[in-house]
């Protein structure tokens, strides 16, 4: 069908030209700019090419567009790599999310961090990556390098603060995210502007407090420290009521009977459903069956049937078989039902 492909391309180009020229007048009648019409044509052709249903026809305008697309695709890959390296130590501020969403800006933002949280996270990542990934070491020294910033008095050179962070805080997504939220809090931001020794101690205390409190919180959840929740997810089970409650026997018995009846009904229904479900003999849901990508859209001259042999006389059709487009003036076919 290779020859057919060239035919298809030519036909499509012809149709596009005809349509665009035909609607130009309609566009002008509505007072819509010719630029919009050109945009329509461009987008239409781009979508056609990206659909890969026909062979692409090289065009000066289209090749320049393609090269632009390639540039765009290479840029997000670079930004993506940088974004993925900072992902474990990613700041969860909306600014960061917004910049990663806009790809060209993300590349610039990742390369030149301006604000302190970005600098801290960026530097912390490099330190974290360099830290040994041993599970036996309890604390890992993490070096946070704060680059020099204008406008902060007495802060002309980059200073590095070394804090000791438990190893588990650096591993794992949730723990790593915790570390980042700790490092990005306003207290930390203020601490970073202090002289090195003070900043170190303040940060260290902050990290220790934060990690201990989160550890304590998670522990309390598992051990049910504080207030114990008995219902909801902590509920043992309904069946234990019979054993545990001895008081109010009359009320209990009535409730039990009701429960048993309801349970019996549910069981019967469960048995009946499998029984009934075997009555249906259809192979497939027709709506699902009719979903297929290989479509032929055409007109019929004659459809005949003899017993179970069907004969098709079709004309003026467009086919999409296995993703590729074909056209025909006439088509004849046979099938057995």
């Amino acid at each position: 069908m290779a020859a057919n492909q060239a035919l298809v391309s030519k036909l499509y180009r012809g149709v596009i030209e005809d349509v665009i020229n035909g609607v130009r007048e309609a566009f002008l009648d509505e007072g819509i700019d010719e630029a919009v019409l050109l945009e329509l044509k461009q987008n239409w052709e781009n979508k056609l090419q990206s659909s890969k249903a026909i062979d692409p026809v090289t065009d000066p305008a289209e090749t320049s567009l393609q090269s632009k697309l390639q540039q765009r695709s290479s840029l997000p890959s670079k930004a993506g790599q940088q974004a993925s390296s900072t992902a474990p130590a990613n700041n969860s501020t909306p600014q960061q999310a917004a910049t990663t969403a806009k790809q060209p800006e993300a590349a610039a933002a990742a390369q030149t961090p301006v604000t302190t949280p970005n600098a801290a996270t960026g530097a912390a990542t490099t330190a974290a990556a360099a830290a040994p990934a041993t599970t036996t070491v309890r604390t890992v020294p993490v070096q946070i390098t704060v680059p020099p910033q204008a406008g902060v008095a007495g802060h002309t050179a980059a200073k590095s603060i070394t804090v000791h962070v438990p190893a588990h805080a650096l591993q794992g997504g949730a723990a790593g995210a915790q570390l980042q939220t700790i490092l990005s809090s306003p207290a930390v931001t203020a601490a970073l502007s202090l002289p090195v020794e003070m900043a170190t101690t303040v940060l260290q205390q902050h990290i220790n407090n934060a990690l201990q409190s989160t550890a304590a919180r998670s522990q309390s959840r598992t051990d049910n420290g504080g207030v114990t929740q008995l219902d909801g997810p902590g509920d043992s089970s309904d069946d234990d009521d019979d054993v545990e409650d001895d008081d109010d026997d009359d009320v209990e018995e009535e409730d039990d009977h009701d429960d048993e009846e309801i349970d019996a009904d549910n069981e019967e229904n469960a048995d009946e459903e499998p029984l009934n479900s075997e009555d249906d003999v259809t192979d497939d849901d027709p709506s699902v069956l009719f979903e297929t990508d290989n479509v032929v859209v055409c007109q019929y001259d004659k459809i005949t049937r003899s017993r179970n042999r069907w004969k098709f006389h079709l004309k003026d059709g467009i086919m999409n078989i296995n993703g590729r487009d074909y056209v025909f003036q006439k088509a004849n076919g046979d099938a057995e039902w």
Partner: protein, 110 residues
């Protein structure tokens, strides 16, 4: 007026998507988009009738379902082979939608 049959083709779908995008951006009105589609229908029908000259045959392993409703035939065939003189292409399941080739398409008042 011509059949709106060809709107569900690669060409037709891409056109509709492009028009929808332009409507979303507010660059064209829905009425204008409709006019474009109507023009597309006419052009498509004319092109297929006049510009296409090839014939092909096909043979299906099985006709799974057939439907004739509102003068439109819809067939589902499986294991189909399409032959165009020397070339061949195959499809596992093929859906054929065919409008009446002889009837005058319904006219609509715009």
């Amino acid at each position: 007026m011509a059949y709106q049959l060809y709107r569900n083709t690669t060409l037709g779908n891409t056109l509709q998507e492009t028009l929808d995008e332009l409507i979303q951006f507010g660059q064209i009105t829905p009425q204008l988009a409709l006019k474009v589609l109507v023009h597309f229908d006419r052009t498509m029908n004319n092109s297929l009738a006049q510009k296409v000259k090839n014939r092909l045959t096909f043979k299906a392993g099985k006709l799974n379902t057939y439907r004739f409703c509102d003068n439109v035939w819809t067939f589902l065939l499986s294991d189909v082979e399409f032959r165009d003189v020397s070339e061949l292409c195959k499809g596992e399941t093929v859906k054929i939608v065919a409008c009446d080739g002889k009837a005058v398409p319904p006219t609509k008042d715009d």
